[in-house]
């Protein structure tokens, strides 16, 4: 087992991650490495710190201490430009959070177009101020056209291309969440974080969202999923983290974890939810 571990490429290396809100120690030292292509499901009791852990991974919550190595940089360090790294860390929320004032297509295109245009402008400015060796290899029109092509391809993939020009308020929860997922995908992320992606859905819509996540997993996407769907966690995950009281109190493969839990806390939790 150890030889194969060494060959794997780490995507996120978390070292002694702590998060305090005032005197409330929500995360009490988490050290863990997530490897490329790995699918991790996080489960645990309410208030245990699952969401906080996930949100620290892209610094939506600033860690109190510890480090998170992503792309060779410690993104927990306040000095790094976190926006650049977030482009490569997709995040999907329980409440979808599609932009209400944008159409579906605009929702998907907004971040790629805005960020790439910004970079293009910066390059142009640098060239203007004398950096001759900078190559301008694209135009705003091209950026938009490419983003639109990607967006339409992704919409087609989930069978919602006819919804491209509608506003989110007209969509069902399942449609919203699937669009939120491809909106994150449009950025070409190296890892995707899901915080209870199906908890706000009507039961009949859970399936379509889980199907899409499952597909992404099969295509090799690295994923970390906080979920209450035990069956889904067992089926999709390579590893399960059990987070309670701010630490990963037990982890293992689904078989180890569900069939042979060691920690009494895990046993108690599983007896309640299974």
């Amino acid at each position: 087992m150890n030889e194969t571990l060494n060959e794997r490429v780490p995507v996120l290396q978390v070292r002694n991650l702590r998060k305090h809100y005032g005197s409330n120690q929500v995360l009490r030292g988490i050290t863990e490495t997530i490897y490329e292509g790995e699918k991790v499901a996080i489960i645990g009791p309410s208030g245990g710190g699952k969401s906080t852990f996930l949100r620290c991974l892209n610094c939506m919550e600033d860690p109190t201490s510890g480090s998170i190595i992503f792309d060779g940089e410690d993104i927990a360090d306040m000095k790094v430009d976190i926006n650049l790294h977030r482009e490569h860390i997709g995040m999907v929320f329980q409440s979808f959070n599609l932009f209400n004032n944008k159409t579906v297509l605009e929702n998907i295109m907004l971040a790629p177009v805005t960020l790439r245009t910004k970079k293009l402008r910066k390059k142009k400015l640098q060239k203007f101020f004398g950096k001759k060796d900078i190559v301008i290899d694209t135009t705003v029109e091209q950026i938009k056209a490419e983003a639109k092509e990607t967006a339409m391809r992704l919409l087609k993939r989930i069978g919602l291309e006819e919804k491209a020009d509608v506003y989110p308020s007209t969509l069902s929860g399942g449609q919203k969440q699937r669009i939120a997922i491809i909106r994150a995908l449009a950025m070409n992320p190296k890892v995707m974080l899901f915080d209870e992606p199906t908890s706000a859905l009507d039961p009949e819509m859970v399936g379509e969202v889980l199907d899409l996540i499952r597909q992404l997993g099969n295509e090799g996407m690295t994923m970390i999923i906080v979920t209450h769907e035990m069956g889904f966690a067992r089926e999709i995950a390579d590893r399960i983290f059990f987070i309670s009281d701010g630490i990963i109190s037990e982890q293992g493969t689904p078989t180890e974890f569900f069939d042979h839990p060691k920690n009494p806390r895990t046993v108690e939790f599983l007896s309640k939810v299974l």
């Binding site: 926006n83 790294h85 482009e87 997709g90 929320f93 932009f99 805005t114 506003y167 308020s169």
Partner: protein, 239 residues
């Protein structure tokens, strides 16, 4: 003596001054100035108010942030704490001369009205921003957009939609407040009708007509705002 003139007679006096003694020209100039000051004041106010509000809602981790938030607070306190006439007088007779700025009185009025409404609109806008689901900002940030990009592209457009009726009220207030610009020698509707009245010392009809014009202006604005709201609502439903 003139006080006892009958209404038809008074009307004739007014009509005569209005048509034959260039009264209508004064009124048109006044109306134009009133609208210029109110409209440009509102636009400047929206820009200033949005900036102050956006700065105000930045998580105050950094010292510079807190510094600019404090400046915003002082700004708002000043403009809400003094009457607009006082601000106008201070601007026209003290501040601009002191800075060596020499501009037409209308521009001074536009500037002061803009600065003043900026203070009020910043409060309105802050309420609007807070009324937008925080998930919208989170989603933008999670995609790698900066705080200000997300603010400008996502949050503020939704905030403006929510506060449109209140912004409309602010505009109506501005239109009515223009009646004070006579204090610094600008011609607005008020000044125009005072001119007509003073021509024969016959004020009843001119001032009644003046009131009517204000009411009609306000009604038109109210209607426009309602139309805009309806358009915005429809936009999000279908298409």
């Amino acid at each position: 003596m003139r006080f006892f003139l009958s209404f038809p007679k008074k009307w004739d006096v007014f009509y005569n001054t209005f048509v034959n003694h260039n009264g209508y020209k004064e009124v048109l100039t006044g109306l134009q100035n009133t609208l210029i000051i109110a409209v440009l004041g509102l636009l400047i106010g929206i820009v200033i108010g949005t900036v102050i509000a956006a700065v105000k809602v930045i998580p105050p981790y950094k010292r510079v942030t807190r510094f600019f938030q404090r400046i915003g607070d002082i700004y708002v306190a000043f403009f809400r704490g003094t009457p607009m006439v006082v601000q106008l007088l201070l601007g026209y007779y003290v501040l601009f001369p002191m800075l060596g700025i020499n501009m037409p009185v209308i521009n001074v009025c536009v500037t002061i009205f803009g600065l003043n409404s900026g203070a009020y609109i910043s409060e309105i806008m802050r309420g609007g921003i807070n009324s937008v689901d925080p998930g919208q900002m989170e989603a933008g940030r999670a995609l790698g957009l900066s705080f200000f990009s997300t603010m400008m592209l996502i949050v503020i457009p939704q905030a403006i939609k929510n506060i449109l009726p209140t912004l409309g009220n602010e505009f109506i207030t501005l239109v009515k407040e223009t009646s004070i610009v006579g204090f610094v020698g600008a011609t607005d509707i008020c000044v125009a009708f005072r001119y007509i009245g003073t021509n024969n010392y016959e004020f009843m009809v001119p001032y009644l007509v003046m009131a009517l014009i204000y009411i009609v202006l306000v009604l038109i604005i109210t209607l426009l705002i309602r139309l805009m709201e309806r358009r915005l609502k429809r936009n999000e439903r279908n298409a």
